[in-house]
Symmetry: C2
Subunit: 901 residues, 2 copies
Amino acid sequence: MGKKYVYSFEEVKHANTEEWQFALGNKGAQLSEMTAIGLPVPLGFQITTEACRDFYVAGKKWPAGLESQVKQKLAELEKKLGKRFGDKKDPLFVSVRSGSYVSMPGMMDTVLNLGMNDDTAAAFAEKTGNKRGAVDSYRRFIQMFGDVVMEVEHARFEEILHRKKDTKGVQFDTELTADDLKEVIDEYKAMVKKETGKLFPTDPWQQLKMGIDAVFSSWNTPRAVSYRRINKLRGDAGTGVTVQSMVFGNMGETSGTGVSFTRNPATGKKEHYGEFLINAQGEDVVAGIRTPKPIDELGKLLPAVYKQLLNVYGLLEKHYKDLQDFEFTIENNKLYLLQTRSGKRTAHAAMKIAVDMEKEGLVTKEQAVMMVKPDQLNQLLHEQLDPVAKKEAQVVAKGLPASPGAAVGKVVFTAERAKQLVDEDPHTKLILVRLETSPEDIEGIHVAQGMLTSRGGMTSHCAVVARGMGKCAVVGCGDISINEEGKFFTVKMKGGELRFNEMDWISLDGGAGEVFGKQLPLVEPRMSGDFGILMKWADEFRRLGIRTNADTPKDAQVAKDFGVEGIGLCRTEHMFFEGERIKAMREMILAENTEGRKKALAKLLPYQKEDFKGLFKVMSGKPIIVRFLDPPLHEFLPKEECEIKALAEELGFTVEKIKQVIVSLHEFNPMLGFRGCRLGVVYPEISEMQARAIFEAAIEAKQEGFDPMPEIEVPNVITVKEFRLIKEIISNVAKELDIEGRKIHYKVGTMIEFPRACITADELATEADFFSFGTNDLTQTTLGFSRDDAGKFIPLYIERGALEQDPFQTIDQQGVGKLMIMAVEKGRSVKPHLDIGICGEHGGEPASVEFCHRIGLSNVSCSPFRVPIARLAAAQAAIKEKMKAGKAAPKGERAKKKAKK
Amino acid sequence: MGKKYVYSFEEVKHANTEEWQFALGNKGAQLSEMTAIGLPVPLGFQITTEACRDFYVAGKKWPAGLESQVKQKLAELEKKLGKRFGDKKDPLFVSVRSGSYVSMPGMMDTVLNLGMNDDTAAAFAEKTGNKRGAVDSYRRFIQMFGDVVMEVEHARFEEILHRKKDTKGVQFDTELTADDLKEVIDEYKAMVKKETGKLFPTDPWQQLKMGIDAVFSSWNTPRAVSYRRINKLRGDAGTGVTVQSMVFGNMGETSGTGVSFTRNPATGKKEHYGEFLINAQGEDVVAGIRTPKPIDELGKLLPAVYKQLLNVYGLLEKHYKDLQDFEFTIENNKLYLLQTRSGKRTAHAAMKIAVDMEKEGLVTKEQAVMMVKPDQLNQLLHEQLDPVAKKEAQVVAKGLPASPGAAVGKVVFTAERAKQLVDEDPHTKLILVRLETSPEDIEGIHVAQGMLTSRGGMTSHCAVVARGMGKCAVVGCGDISINEEGKFFTVKMKGGELRFNEMDWISLDGGAGEVFGKQLPLVEPRMSGDFGILMKWADEFRRLGIRTNADTPKDAQVAKDFGVEGIGLCRTEHMFFEGERIKAMREMILAENTEGRKKALAKLLPYQKEDFKGLFKVMSGKPIIVRFLDPPLHEFLPKEECEIKALAEELGFTVEKIKQVIVSLHEFNPMLGFRGCRLGVVYPEISEMQARAIFEAAIEAKQEGFDPMPEIEVPNVITVKEFRLIKEIISNVAKELDIEGRKIHYKVGTMIEFPRACITADELATEADFFSFGTNDLTQTTLGFSRDDAGKFIPLYIERGALEQDPFQTIDQQGVGKLMIMAVEKGRSVKPHLDIGICGEHGGEPASVEFCHRIGLSNVSCSPFRVPIARLAAAQAAIKEKMKAGKAAPKGERAKKKAKK
């Protein structure tokens, strides 16, 4: 038995599943589903995506068995309809449409009215008594087939049609008569012959074969390939092919075509939404030559059809329990559905629809929570570019959507310049444009509206800092070339270069990664009551704790307002970059011995203490994970000659000495170098100072009536002995300051961010009070991908199918995830209730949150503005698990449950 | 029940095991062992190393139970000897000695003659009738105890003794009379009181307590700590303490002390070897004031004792089945053994002793193979510094012993200069001194005798290349500061700096990592017939295949002469650096499109082909693993302004364009960047060219009558899809060239060098014909240790106990090893007979070879000069496994085996 490549719509009973959507394409699956629930769908059949994949494997040839299966299904179709393909009495016409596992609107090909030739068109005219409709359909078919299948330029057809309208002195296609259209057809055929050297095919079966070939081939057109690369879709999925008996919307004034949503997708309001055209086929709506009418006018024009349509709204929502976006055709007063899919909607609409549907009793609370995509919440939490203005503006460059929201400002190329300009005029709006940002740019980032970088990935410095601040950023924008000295950047465009000088306006959409070459208006974020309701529901279901990555009281407050339960990562190194601190830090690094280092560290202590105290106050009663100093020391030293000179003078060292230290600290692969707890093993005095700052801050906060809950985290641990060395330093300080006596409860835990930590997690668990996965570093080391460098080739890796997704955006569950599971199992084998969290950037990414839930983590931590996303994703993970458990329960169990109800 | 801290020598019956050596210290274990086999050992007891560890844990206090156990054993000792500690009639004296699991000669403390005071010394004189001997012992005790336990400077005592000799007009201590010595004793006591403010203790029990304390404390003296760091010994092992009843070698002309080897440790000849002093205690031999006599003279002086000694030789060798190095004391014509250990020996001696002992029937072939340390073979394979001259020369700096052998030459700081000097005079001997070397230095390395670098680890570029060439190198020598521009380097010494200018002579010992500041003589390596015999035996036992890492026919020939069975790693990138090749390579990198790249690659093809053909000829009939291009592309581009300019002119690009490419290829962490098969995924034309070069070379070699066996290896693989993409390119070329039709058998396999490859090894095995572990990269990523950067802190990590060994020298079995086991199990679960090798630097390191054997690898690959080492290590691994299996067999099984015999 060969593979089954073709299914009739009636053949699949429950096609609305991921598996069927992947097998048939989403469009095909929904045609089956609608057929199954009794909606008026024209008969037809579906060729699987596997057939398409096998087509490519076979070198763009039909795989064995496909032709016979198509023929068989076609015969069945003919039988059911009592029509025959190419019949001169009662001919069958079909549409041939594409459709992958996710919609790629407009990217692949469609042919309508297939089966037309002189004879069948005549028979059609005869049978319907609608000569003009028949000829119009024929004309449309030649044009579409000629364009899509035979690759004749679309314009060639349009020229002929225009000329005819000019000759006849009419404006619209609908004004051309049947005879006019016949002349157009003849001209079309002649032109096709001339352009391609081939006669236009008249055999319907040949037409069908060519049509299916064309749809298969359209999977790999350059635009489809680009679309998938940009949208990170699988390149190896293939398209399904829908072959469906035609219904004609162009059969006169009781026919038509349209699209509709079951509710308003912009606002979420329960109202009829959509538009239609009378006497038209699908492509007319898209072409935009005639202006479609709002859906409610159909009530006046074709009341019977309108009644059918209202019924469809109800049926669709009742069945799909979701907003539906569907296409319909009216043929002689009868309504047909040609497609339905879950409707795209704004975040506001998503929220409102979910809450409303629960109120209406259409969905349960759990289902309502499942209806909002966590990532969509981004829209609610940040300013956005005005969608109307944005639609009209040109995207001049595209980068990675590193931090959502929007920013509008004038271009500036250095942090110093940004600072200076804002100092002069605090109302100045700036966009900081850099190759990449570094910790030294922090003040510039602070004063800018947003950042645009030409390098770096989703987890580059710029991206991480921007997300932490809730600031818009577009990073890794390879389209732009920056000339920092010349103070301009250029963008290559068709036919030339665009140049942007300092102080030129640009606008960024951080959620889409788009750059606009002018000043666009902004719209404020709004939070509705529905948001609060949905979040409350989410909290009822989720099991994962939600924490935030925050280094400052301000960030912590933002996260707290978003409902966070603690800090999962406070990076202490960011505290070392400002003013006097960096000076003391550098003094420490340049010190020649322990004494010198201790002296410099003593200067840092009060700053650190104040930082921690501020956090303890905001997060009173909530745990705070403070990570010990993590980055390599060279990150704190100046790079430019003049800075080195200034530092030398300031600290009384020679320039040579400083350069010598810089050389000695240089690293080939800093990511794998002298950093994290390695600093503390070599220089215990650094850990000692940090422990002291944390504990002294806790003591003071406690004395002022707050409830500090410090959890100290040791980074980069790979051996338990190393962890023990640092823990001992911390314990000694705690003993000295009598932390226990003061009833301050503290923990000491470890990051799990290198494979060896996962492998030896059982040993680490004997000493650690908690684990926290640093999945950025764990991904880098497990895959051998530097996050800053791999960005260059990851998109191509995804396109070529070597990777399924960007592992820095969503956890690589097959690789990194396996190590995480190992660490959880080993850790809990020693301490069954070990607290395990995650504080990498993945902690706010829905699929990763779901994974963390599944493998039993205690909590996830993410940047403040992603907290609501994490809350929702965590709830959805719990609900999914419950649903799966329900499905997986033995039949007897399920039956019992049902019986109870 | 508390811990058992103290054992009498008789208590442990089979102490010559690793466990007991660790528990008691090696010296203590051997005292028990010698007692058990009936050798004349003075009675005594041993305090465990655990007591020492607990002493430190308790804050340098005796752990609970230790005191009572010591007292009990002391009482037993008194009873057995019929003497009492502090007794005024028949007093007991003891020695208190240190000893860890491995010998740390001279690093820790010893006190002899403990128990002496005015009364016991008098009683001793009375009882022995040897007044002078008694007083001399008392004097020695005060001096040793005062120095070691009370921390009075040694020189203070020597001053007094010298003054006395001067006053008396004598030259040797032995010439001082009992009365002279009594005066010395009084002066000693007065001086100790003055220096320390304390009276010299007279209570023997207090002396003993203080003595044991001092030995415990001597574990952590700075010199002991440094010694362990340098020799990579465990810092957390602790020392045992031996308390043993004294025998006195200073009781006159029928007493004495000495050391001896059971055979000649320099030549391996079966002859008496050692020296002795009459009327002396142990420290006199070391002090070197009197010249000891060769052992055979004892036959004339004390024939009865000599007879006892000859008997001891036989007993020791029969029992230990090895060369023994032992210390003895003669007290009144009676011989006592105070220590024995396996004797250190030269590689030649090791070989000869092993082969001789087998002939003598003392050991089996298996035991003989186990007797030679694989690492020792290095000595046989390379030139060495003349040991006599070396002994007298000063080590001016120490680095990592990256590549064994020796080199003597004049200092030069750049590869160009080296080339130039050798071009002028081919006999010039040079040492290339660099911060670190890069591929561009290859010609300089080629012409130099050896290399010295101030940075980089055991697997840095310099180390790897040097080992490959069998050339001496000392790397990561942080003691030296290089000023390349000024053409000199300096070494900080006590009281100033040493400076070495260009053309100054230095000498390197690559096996010890030592740098000497002058021209030392060299001795040639010699290979004896014993070498061949032992290697043959080794091959009988080993199961692992042995391959080599070789990029050139010359290297391959060297390895073949050493008995290699194939090439385990041929790095193709080294082939791209010379002359025209680097030009074409750069052209390829700078090309703007696939066409341009293909054009440049076409120029490289003939070179590659010739390279491979040469290898196929040398290795006819043996498999060759060729690895596809691995390093990031930026390694091939010039760095200096002038080079960039030259390149621009040569290739007709603008300087700006080249700089732009350099910037675009810059990587933050090149180790984790765009390299390995990622290059082939993005630029398939590179893989295509390499496959073509390999296959065309194989075809030509075949036509010329050779038997090429290419095995193509894909580096850096992390997903099976990625591997499939590259494999497809290779298969297509193979099909095109009809490789199968030409009966050339080829394989395509994958490196396993990132954790994700281990985790997904089952998937990879579905496609790969073989695996090869790249344990350098696997170690770097598993531990998050860059091999070039981590060298700075690894020694400290080992000293502080955070790591047990340098993971780049020997496989980290607890971390990296676990991933390797996972990969082997997963790979073989899919293909039970999957070929799995290792080609990292670990492939030639004995402990790692043993591990590879244990986890079931098929072969190991190492640099040519390590091949004999790997052969021997592989044999030893197999023998150990057999021995263990014998031990582990169920009792019934063993009994049956015995019964059969």
